[in-house]
């Protein structure tokens, strides 16, 4: 069963600090628009049903699944992706650095989503206790690391 395809609509939003106009079909997922229209491929897609967390970005400062949002819903919103954490020429953020130092990533596929969720947590709660870290991380699946080093990295970044 297919419905007819409506024309593309313009979506004005701010992505990683840059005013952007996207021209997308209404059904275009925000994850696809970021990746394939804007070339921001650091945001990864692992399940397209909101469980794995690889596509997590910040929407007006809050962590959300970009696979569970249509790009049209981002009208007027401020979006941050992993590419915003350490723009070209800038050193890694303390959180990114902690992931490197604690061996908090292996294949790196889930990592950008986790970095975005933790970035939001650190902003809201710079000295979050372990159970708050866990409540943020339990919205992410990582199949490589067994999570221990991710938790260590999050703690280290909080101390940094």
């Amino acid at each position: 069963m297919t419905n007819s395809t409506p024309a593309a609509v313009d979506v004005r939003c701010r992505v990683n600090g840059v005013d952007t106009t996207l021209s997308v079909e209404p059904r275009t997922l925000l994850s696809d628009a970021l990746r394939h229209d804007l070339g921001l491929t650091g945001t990864h897609v692992g399940c397209e049903h909101g469980v794995c967390g690889a596509c997590t970005v910040l929407l007006d400062g809050k962590s959300v699944r970009s696979c569970l949002m249509f790009a049209v819903e981002a009208q007027g919103a401020e979006i941050s992706t992993v590419e915003s954490l350490a723009p070209e020429g800038q050193p890694l953020s303390p959180l990114q650095k902690a992931f490197h130092e604690q061996h908090g990533l292996q294949c790196g596929f889930c990592t950008p989503g986790i970095l975005m969720s933790l970035t939001a947590l650190i902003r809201e709660h710079p000295d979050a206790p372990d159970d708050e870290i866990a409540l943020t991380l339990d919205g992410h699946l990582c199949r490589c690391t067994g999570y221990k080093n991710i938790v260590k990295a999050a703690r280290a970044a909080m101390r940094a």
Binding site: G46, T111, R143
Partner: protein, 806 residues
């Protein structure tokens, strides 16, 4: 274990297993790019004029195809091509069978696109190529497939007895059978004071890398070249195979595995249908075609594993010494058997593990079912083997009223018996090259503290809390034959490039192989560049699987570095007018032994060696002949290689045996059946450790995957063969909450069978997890008299066990 970006100067030098770089937790060179979001996975690559593919997949588990109507799909918006099996012509024959074996009497592999018969829900029937993935999916839903439904073979336990067949010409659904034996098992069972018999099963599971599969292919009509990007563990093998199947020369095909978001075995299939169909479509259209597998597709069409039922027996004496072990098992290979007997053969050779068992008989019946094909998933048949052996150990302990660990202790292979020949022989002799199982076992026991735990357990029970402990030992054959290779070259920049045929899915080869190279050659770590995953750079080798990359490619890198060293020494000896044996290479500089003041950098040496001086900056020439001299030298010895360039190969001749002991404590809530992991202990031995942080990362990841497999993950189908677990909501990977404190410790017995002394370790973390958890739950619920014989254990299973025991 906090890694440091640069090794401390001189740290550990002089110790046999530590160099300036080897043995240190050097931070990964891969990280910065990945952390910035600059990774490049297959779906990240968008080419001009690119089209997108979606597959039409079987909705039936076992059916004849009466008709496939593609007309509506063909005229749907944005559609460029719709392919069925007929369109593939002669290419639509069964895909390759890896490792044919006489034991495999009825091998079956699938065709790229099914035309007459489908054998599992998810099997590829047609491919739709359109301007966007959205449009491709729209059109794929318009392809009408008319089926004649046949009854499905779903249950492994009865697959060999039912009248319905997965393949019409395979009687009893039997793909093949394995038998191996050592000693005189019948006599051992006859003479033994006791025997125990258990029926044990492990259900089907899957690796679930977070990046699904993906293929992007581009055929250049003008140059007649095919470029493929594939989320695979074996780009080199895909290149060679694709060239053969598409009747191209190997030179015409380039295959790259860019960043790959996890593999765990799932991404080493040669071939998945999509890996042939997408290049075919690109070739036909003359436009790039991309297929990015989605999660639903991954659950219904990527290969899976586990799935065995064992009837196992053990014979033992009054002291708990095991006299004989027998197991006869059913192995579920799904609808096809692309990997031959690899998984059940691994099971058969890993049952006896660390125990000195002289009488052993194993029989496997490999059965087809109407489910996705089975190929190795991290552990690859070994978790099943360890589960069987350790369940038998617990049965022995129960019968004799002993602690299971005491039974283990009495049966471990003594340290003075290495190398230990098990007497088993499937494809190659099963011979443990080195190990100290007693040391590892006692170390794990120390961490577990069984006596202390028993007191804690007693106290908790009085409070109505149920704690338990479990343990498991294993060996792991690592580094499957035949070999891996490396091509190395000193650049004029002074950097040394090492190209290898393996590929990384997170293992950090660019770091570990560079550590090996830097020490083997005598250069700084940051002057080494390791490149992998690109079949155009090095064409000899297979890929990453079977815990083999560090072991085989690592030694190939060391061999190539050794050859470079010989070339450099020969050239420098001429320069310094000394014997090549007197040349020392240290930290990227070359000098004569005993005279470090007179030295030259490797960079300058590389420039001197090459008579072509490319335009650009030329500086740092502190010593040595002018370019004219180099030119003269080239004229005098025109045949001499004008640069330092080397090949290295390594094959170990047999698999090398890593080993380890895991233990865990759990708490079980008998009201809900929930099992909470309290602590997990790992003591392991992978020979010489190149990078402790990376080894520990591999172990921690494996442990988490093992805990998932033991407590959360199970693939299910209904009786008509419809999959019931097709999302991350139904198939539950562990999250951060599910992983307890993990204690890691090491034993290091270098392997005598390779220059680096290393063994593989990629799969070690997962192997004994189910065995350990089973024992711990059984121990926790011993007041209820619960026996665990099937994994995984969901809370509802635990409740059922309590109910049945009571």
């Amino acid at each position: 274990m906090s890694p440091h970006p640069n090794p401390p100067p001189q740290a550990g030098e002089g110790e046999p297993s530590r160099g300036r770089h080897v043995g240190h937790s050097i931070g990964r060179v891969e990280d910065e790019r990945l952390l910035r979001g600059n990774g490049r996975y297959v779906d990240d690559i968008d080419l001009p004029r690119q089209l997108h593919a979606a597959f039409v997949r079987s909705q039936q588990a076992n059916a004849r195809i009466k008709a496939i109507n593609i007309e509506r799909a063909r005229s749907a918006p944005g559609v460029a091509l719709v392919l069925t099996g007929h369109d593939l012509g002669h290419l639509n024959k069964p895909l390759p069978l890896l490792g044919p074996n006489p034991a495999l009497t009825h091998p079956k592999t699938q065709r790229p696109l099914a035309t007459e018969r489908v054998h599992y829900v998810g099997q590829t029937i047609a491919c739709v190529v359109a301007e966007t993935r959205y449009l491709a999916e729209d059109a794929a839903s318009l392809v009408e497939v008319e089926y004649e439904t046949l009854p499905a073979v779903v249950d492994l336990g009865t697959a060999g007895q039912v009248s319905q067949r997965v393949h019409d010409d395979v009687p009893g659904n039997v793909a093949g059978a394995i038998h191996d034996a050592i000693g005189d098992v019948d006599a051992a069972f006859k003479e033994a004071a006791y025997t125990e018999k258990l029926r044990l099963s492990i259900e089907r599971s899957t690796a679930s890398p977070i990046e699904p599969r993906g293929v992007l292919a581009d055929w250049d009509r003008k140059l007649r070249r095919l470029q493929v990007w594939d989320s695979t563990q074996a780009p080199v093998a895909i290149k060679h195979g694709l060239a053969k199947m598409l009747a191209l020369s190997q030179e015409q095909v380039d295959v790259t595995a860019p960043d790959v978001g996890g593999g765990f075995g799932t991404k080493i299939m040669l071939f998945y249908p999509e890996e042939l169909v997408i290049p075919f479509a690109a070739k036909q259209l003359g436009r790039p075609v991309k297929w990015s597998e989605d999660r639903w597709e991954h659950f219904v069409s990527a290969n899976q594993e586990r799935g065995q039922i064992h009837d196992a027996e053990v014979a033992f004496d009054r002291e708990g010494r095991i006299l004989g072990v027998r197991t006869s098992f059913l192995h579920d290979t799904g609808a096809f058997i692309p990997y031959g007997i690899a998984v059940p053969a691994n099971t058969s050779t890993h049952v006896i593990g660390q125990y000195r068992i002289k009488n052993y008989d194993v029989r496997a019946t490999i059965l087809y079912t109407n489910k996705p094909p089975v190929s190795p998933y991290r552990g690859a048949g070994r978790p099943h083997a360890v589960f069987v052996m350790e369940r038998l150990i617990c049965a022995v302990a129960r019968r004799l009223g002993m602690e299971p660990h005491e039974v283990r202790r009495r049966n471990l292979i003594p340290t003075n018996e290495f190398p230990y020949d098990t007497g088993l022989h499937i494809d190659a002799p099963v011979r443990y090259d080195s190990g100290d199982y007693v040391k590892g076992f006692e170390l794990a026991l120390k961490h577990l503290d069984p006596a202390g735990f028993r007191k804690q357990q007693e106290k908790a029970r009085k409070e109505g809390r149920y704690l338990g402990m479990g343990m498991g030992t294993y060996v792991e054959a690592t580094g499957p034959a035949p070999y891996e290779s490396c091509r190395a070259k000193v650049e004029e920049s002074g950097r040394v490039i090492f190209d290898v045929a393996v590929a990384s899915q997170g293992q950090g080869h660019q770091t570990t192989l560079a550590q090996i190279a830097a020490d083997a050659l005598g250069v700084e770590f940051d002057h080494v560049v390791v490149r992998e995953g690109d079949a155009s750079r090095v064409e000899d080798g297979i890929g990453t699987f079977g815990s083999r990359s560090l072991l085989l490619a690592g030694n190939a890198v060391a061999a190539a570095a050794g050859e470079l060293k010989t070339q450099i020494a020969a050239y420098a000896a001429e320069l310094f007018e000394c014997a090549p044996g007197d040349i020392v290479i240290q930290r990227g500089r070359v000098h004569v032994a005993g005279n470090p003041a007179r030295d030259v950098s490797l960079r300058d040496l590389a420039m001197m060696a090459n008579p072509i001086g490319y335009p650009g900056e030329r500086d740092g020439m502190v010593v040595g002949p002018a370019y004219g001299d180099a030119l003269k030298r080239a004229k005098e010895r025109p045949a001499a290689a004008p640069m330092f360039e080397a090949r290295g190969y390594f094959g170990a001749g047999q698999q090398l045996y890593g080993s380890g002991v895991h233990a865990a404590t759990v708490e079980v809530d008998p009201e809900t059946g929930r099992v909470r992991m309290l602590k997990y202990i790992v003591v392991h031995d992978c020979g010489v450790i190149i990078n402790p942080a990376i080894v520990e990362g591999q172990i921690l990841g494996g442990v988490a995957q093992g805990i998932g497999g033991a407590l959360l993950e199970r693939l299910t189908w209904d009786e008509s063969g419809q999959p019931q677990t097709t999302s991350f909501m139904d198939f539950r990977l562990p999250t951060v909450d599910d992983i307890p404190e993990v204690v890691l410790d090491h034993v290091e017995t270098p392997s005598p069978l390779n220059p680096l002394g290393v063994k593989g370790t990629g799969e070690a973390g997962i192997i004994p997890a189910s065995a350990v958890v089973a024992e711990a739950v059984e121990d926790a619920l011993s007041p209820f008299g619960v026996h665990v014989s099937a994994m995984p254990l969901f809370p509802s299973d635990v409740k059922r066990l309590i109910r049945e025991a009571g």
